[in-house]
Amino acid sequence: MWLYTFKRLLQGVVTVWFIATATFIAMHNVPGDPLLNDRAMTPEIRANVEAKYGLDQPLATQYFIYLRNLAQGDFGISFTQENRQVNDIIREHFPVSAILGVLAVVFAAAGGVLWGALTAIYRNRLPDYIIMFFVILGISVPSFVVAALSQVSLVNLNSLFGTTVLPVAGWGTIFHMLVPAMVLGLGTMAYLTRLMRSSMLEIISSDFIRTAKSKGVPPARIFTKHQLRNAILPVVTVLGPAIAAITTGGFVVEIVFAVPGLGRFFVEAVQQLDYTVIMGTTVFYGAFLVFMVIVVDVLYGFIDPRMSMK
């Protein structure tokens, strides 16, 4: 088991290095550079700025300097926010994305399991149809539509009560995170519901359930121990990547609800060609994703004893 974990971690480091290199090459091949601005710089001023950021060095040198700094965990200074370290940007804004993300994942997982189980129990009956209708909706409607619509509903809700029931946008309290988290988790919840439903159905019609029933095991025990526990396995598998995807993919929700998360910096950096922030956020997100996958793989061994035999 330890050897397995170590091997996976080593693979992860190589993957992250690959991500860093690919991003570096892609980024420098995009026309334009971070120093271009509305007002053209004189060659002298430009040279001064280039020297400041080390952009006057050959690309290969820049790459090695970059890798060296990366190994020391230093992503450099942002081009657009000249007084801020990329490390500071990540440290200040990732917790926001993470909090929102964790809540969204919990929503998604709890909702997905509950709705999935419910639809399986009521297969091909009215509750199943109603829930599955919303599931299809949740999967197919993009988050920017859901985000905008739910915000308009909040405005209407507040004007109906004549006071702020739930804040329309912003960040800081429990009420601010409720709606954004639900919107952010909606897609994943819908996906997990479907996953849970099919895996539950498979379990329900399997032999050991019939055996358990015929043995006279109490229905509550069958449901919890035999059905839910087995059916939940595939959900746990996709949960790791889902956490990473939700935590890193909240850009739209963050913009709409004015949440100061990292997703906004990630996208704006690409638009602004802010080299250091692009590299910083990409490598950070990449590493995060890789790490979550490894965590799930390792955890899987605990949940499903058959895994660790291999």
Binding site: R39, M177, L178
Partner: protein, 567 residues
């Protein structure tokens, strides 16, 4: 024979399972509540904190939004609108603008501009927020720092009228040789490189703001990076700054003027680019004002809001690539393209933004001439769409260029909804009227700039926002030496006129030169004017004195106050 039992249809089992599930659901919700509580405690450390409401009468405070996080508040290096907006509330230069965009004394109580230089007398009641006086030395330090190559200030060029500034910036002279001296704490003496009659308008720009040397030294290179890394001399001071999230501006008790800074607090609670979010916040009474875009106008009218409009100062135009190898370097071709279009149609039928004006010239409608509007003193040539004549010019161009058929015209544009809409309109228009094929090249900001700079276009949809309140901020755009002249237009007569406009002290001769610049642009079809941008906006009726500006801070809350007397 055993019949298979369908468990899913087993009613008793289903009921028990649902009961069980319900139990789990209740547990989950309770768990969620605890989790959310814990998370909100954690979130408390990541900032945020929203205002109570848009207008808070008890607190004498308002809540507003910023479209973007200010990259930094270092006046010497700032370049963008968000920083400029915050700085205009927190700092003050020698001269500033009043409610009617007229120059009024700021830190300087009076000044004198001569042919060879200028003198500013600094008021003795101007203080920093640590109670020490603002002196002439603070300006000398700030300006020397801007032109110092080590600072790498992108706006250093705006100080080039000062003696030796350009040479210092190029590293040829030490920064101490800059033509600016503090004769005493109160008197600031400036030497010019060449006569600069509009210098009073320049010093209102944020790059000219003062910085105190001892404080700057104490920030260890982090000047302007955080709320406590800046010294304030404006009506408000930034007391809290949670990056990307919120700011708090509080009234600066040491500010000298009685006419600014009536609010105790301005809470910048939301930083978001999303206009829909802002209008929702405004509807909910969470913010004091917001800008509107065209699709929102019906909704705003339905709410019976008082909608105001104002020009934001920026002019948009189709800029031709005048490099020799391009088709657009042919004058008849440009004439054809100009005659085949009509900016009125673009603005009123295509863009339909209520606050936009069809542009008639490079010089926008608000520019001042000698004694009144520049446009009245030097009216631009009237433009009429004439497709037949346009086709004649196009035929002439075809012969001159020796072409059988025109290749597709590369039309470089931005990726915003407005630019895409406009470029698709032109694509259709030129195909119909002239049979020209337009190939739209839509690029994001930096890529568009890269292509503009390297000349990879025939026509580019460009805009120009003013830096200072003088016609020259537009007038020198097509000087052959101007780096922002990205189509590389070059004309000796134009250069001559620009030199006069830059250094002539007699306002009449100077504006005549400006008029000549306008005529050359028309004669030579250097560009096709598109529109002057404006904004529609709404303000909470209880907030008075809010100013939208063409140059400087937009939105300007310096003169704003809460008035609940009238309904």
């Amino acid at each position: 024979m055993t019949k298979p039992i369908l468990i899913a249809n087993d009613k008793g089992f289903a009921q028990s399972a649902v009961k069980q599930l319900g139990l789990y659901a209740v547990c989950t919700i309770m768990g969620l509540a605890v989790l959310m509580y814990l998370l909100s405690l954690a979130a408390g450390n990541t900032g945020g904190g929203s205002g109570i409401s848009g207008i808070n009468v008890d607190d004498n405070s308002i809540t507003i939004t910023l479209g973007q996080e200010p990259p930094q508040l270092d006046s010497g290096r700032a370049t963008d609108a968000a920083s400029s907006s915050v700085l205009a509330h927190a700092m003050e230069g020698l001269i500033t603008y009043d409610q009617n965009n007229q120059l009024v004394p700021g830190v300087a109580e009076r000044w004198e501009i001569r042919e060879d230089g200028a003198t500013f007398w600094i008021r003795d009641d101007a203080f920093w927020n640590d109670s020490r006086p603002v002196t002439a030395h603070d300006f000398v330090f700030a300006w020397e720092r801007v032109v110092d190559p080590i600072t790498a200030s992108e706006y250093a060029f705006i100080l080039y009228p000062i003696k030796n500034a350009e040479k210092i910036n190029q590293g040829e002279l030490p920064k101490e040789t800059l033509g600016v001296h503090a004769l005493s704490d109160q008197i600031l003496e400036v030497e010019f490189e060449q006569p600069t009659p509009y210098f009073d308008k320049l010093v209102a720009f944020f790059t000219y703001y003062p910085i105190r040397e001892d404080f700057f030294g104490s920030t260890n290179g982090r000047y302007g990076a955080d709320a406590d890394m800046l010294l304030y001399n404006g009506p408000y001071m930034v007391t809290e700054w949670v990056h990307g999230s919120s700011m708090l501006w509080e009234k600066n008790p040491y500010y000298w003027s009685e006419e600014k800074g009536f609010l105790d607090k301005i809470i910048v609670s939301y930083i978001t680019t999303d206009v829909n979010t802002k209008i929702n916040l405004f509807k909910d009474g969470q913010i004091a004002d917001t800008s509107l875009v065209a699709p929102m106008l019906p909704q705003a009218m339905e709410q019976r809001w008082q909608i105001d409009r104002v020009m934001d100062g920026t002019v948009f135009f189709l800029e031709f690539n005048h490099r020799e190898e391009r088709i657009t370097s042919n004058l008849n071709f440009r004439k054809a393209m100009s005659l085949a279009q009509d900016p009125n149609e673009l603005v009123y039928k295509v863009l339909k933004e209520a606050a936009y004006l069809p542009a008639q010239s490079l010089f926008p409608v608000w520019v001042q001439g000698v004694s009144e509007q520049f446009r009245k003193e030097y009216p631009p040539r009237e433009h009429k769409i004439d497709v037949l004549k346009a086709r004649e010019y196009l035929e002439l161009a075809r012969q001159e260029l020796g072409l059988d058929e025109f290749p597709p015209i590369v039309f470089l544009t931005g990726d915003t909804p407005i630019s895409l809409l406009a470029s698709e309109y032109y694509q259709q228009l030129y195909l119909e009227n002239l049979g020209l094929e337009i190939r739209i090249d839509a690029q994001i900001f930096k890529q568009r700039l890269a292509k503009m700079t390297s000349g990879e276009f025939d026509v580019v949809m460009a805009g120009w926002a003013p830096d200072y309140f003088d016609a020259l901020t537009f007038g020198d755009l097509f000087a052959s030496w101007n780096l922002n002249n990205r189509g590389r237009y070059s004309n000796e007569e134009m250069d001559k006129m620009i030199r006069i406009a830059q250094s002539e002290l007699d306002p009449l001769i100077r504006m005549d030169a400006m008029g000549a610049i306008q005529s050359i642009i028309e004669e030579d079809v250097v560009l096709i004017p598109m529109y002057e941008r404006g904004v529609s906006f709404v303000v909470d009726p209880r907030l008075k004195g809010l100013i939208r500006r063409i140059v400087g801070a937009d939105v300007d809350y310096n003169y704003a106050y809460i008035d609940v007397s009238e309904d």
